[in-house]
Amino acid sequence: MTVIMEGKIKTQTMDTMPKGNEGSSIKIKVLFFARARDLTGLSEMPLEVSSGSSAHDCLNDLVAKFPSLEEIRGCMVLALNEEYTTESATVKDKDELAIIPPISGG
C-alpha cells in the first residue's frame, strides 16, 4: 500500500505522528453541543485519525481545526459512545466522540 505524504490531498488529520500499525486510519463521528457547537459552527462532523489514536489525539486534531475550542478545553469533558471517558481512551472505527462543555441541566 502506498502512503501519499504530500500533495493536495484533502485530509482530516494534522501533524500527528501515526500510531498503531501501518498508519491505517479510522473514522469516528464527533458531536458538538451547546457552546462547543457555537464555537465550531457544527453539530457534528466525521474525523479521520490514525488507528490507535486516543481521545486526546482526536481533541488535538479538533482544536487544530477549530482553535476557538481552546476556550472550553479546560472545562469540557469527553464522552465516547455515550459514556464519559478520559482523554487517554483509545478510539476505534465508527466511535462517537462527544465534546461536552459544562452542563446545565435541571
Binding site: F33, E82, Y84, I100, P101, S104, G105, G106
Partner: protein
C-alpha cells in the same frame, strides 16, 4: 395485583410541557406510603438580570442513559418503589417546569433523600445544557455541581475520593459514575461557576 417497581425516564422534545400528574400517577402504588417530588422551574431573574426564558438542549441518548444510571444508584442506596424523571428540551418560560422527579417508597425518608440525590446527580452529570435568555443577550449556563464533579467523570474507579457519605447505602457506578454527595451544600442552584457568565449577543 400489586404494581411492580418501575422506573420511567423521559426527555421531552420542544414544546411538550411536563404533565406532573402523569409522573406522580406513575410512581403511585398502594404499598408506597410516600411520594416525594422535585420540580425545577425557570426563575425570572439571575444576578439582577431579567430572564425571559431558558432554552434546553441535550445529548439525548446519553442523557437518558445517565438518568437511568442515577436511578439505579438511587435504588442501591435507598429502599424505593418507583421513580419517574422527566426533562424538557427547547424553550421553557418563566415559572414553567423544566425538570420533574417523582419518587415513591414505603417510607418518606427514602423517598425524600432519593429525590434530592436524583436532582443533585442530574445537575452534576447529565449532558443537558440550558441557555439563559435576557432582553439584551443570552448565555450558556454552567452547573457548579458539574464543575466540582468534572475531573471524576470518566474515571474507571467510580468512587468519589475524599467525600464521606453520611447515609447508609452502597453506590453502584453507572455510566456517569453517579456519585453520592455530602448533604449540607444547600439547594442546587442554576449557577455559573466558571469564570462568571459570558454574555453572547
Amino acid at each position: 395485583m400489586t404494581p411492580e417497581e418501575k422506573t420511567l425516564v423521559e426527555i421531552l422534545d420542544e414544546h411538550n410541557p411536563i404533565d406532573l400528574a402523569r409522573y406522580i400517577n406513575y410512581v403511585t402504588a398502594p404499598q408506597a406510603g410516600a411520594i416525594a417530588t422535585f420540580s425545577g422551574t425557570t426563575r425570572d431573574s439571575f444576578e439582577g438580570k431579567t430572564v425571559l426564558e431558558l432554552r434546553y438542549e441535550a445529548y439525548k441518548p446519553m442523557a437518558i442513559r445517565c438518568i437511568k444510571s442515577i436511578c439505579s444508584s438511587a435504588r442501591s442506596s435507598w429502599s424505593l418503589h418507583s421513580i419517574a424523571v422527566a426533562h424538557r428540551l427547547g424553550p421553557v418560560p418563566v415559572g414553567v417546569t423544566s425538570v420533574f422527579i417523582a419518587v415513591s417508597a414505603v417510607h418518606r425518608a427514602d423517598a425524600l433523600d432519593a429525590c434530592k440525590f436524583v436532582i443533585d446527580e442530574l445537575k452534576a452529570s447529565v449532558p443537558i445544557w440550558k441557555k439563559e435568555v435576557y432582553a439584551n443577550g443570552e448565555v450558556w449556563k454552567e452547573n457548579s455541581e458539574f464543575l466540582e464533579r468534572r475531573l471524576e467523570l470518566g474515571r474507571q474507579d467510580g468512587v468519589s475520593g475524599g467525600k464521606n457519605v453520611d447515609f447508609e447505602g452502597h453506590v453502584k457506578k453507572g455510566c456517569c459514575g453517579a456519585k453520592v454527595k455530602v448533604n449540607g451544600g444547600g439547594v442546587a442552584n442554576i449557577s455559573t461557576g466558571h469564570g462568571g457568565s459570558r454574555e453572547l449577543e
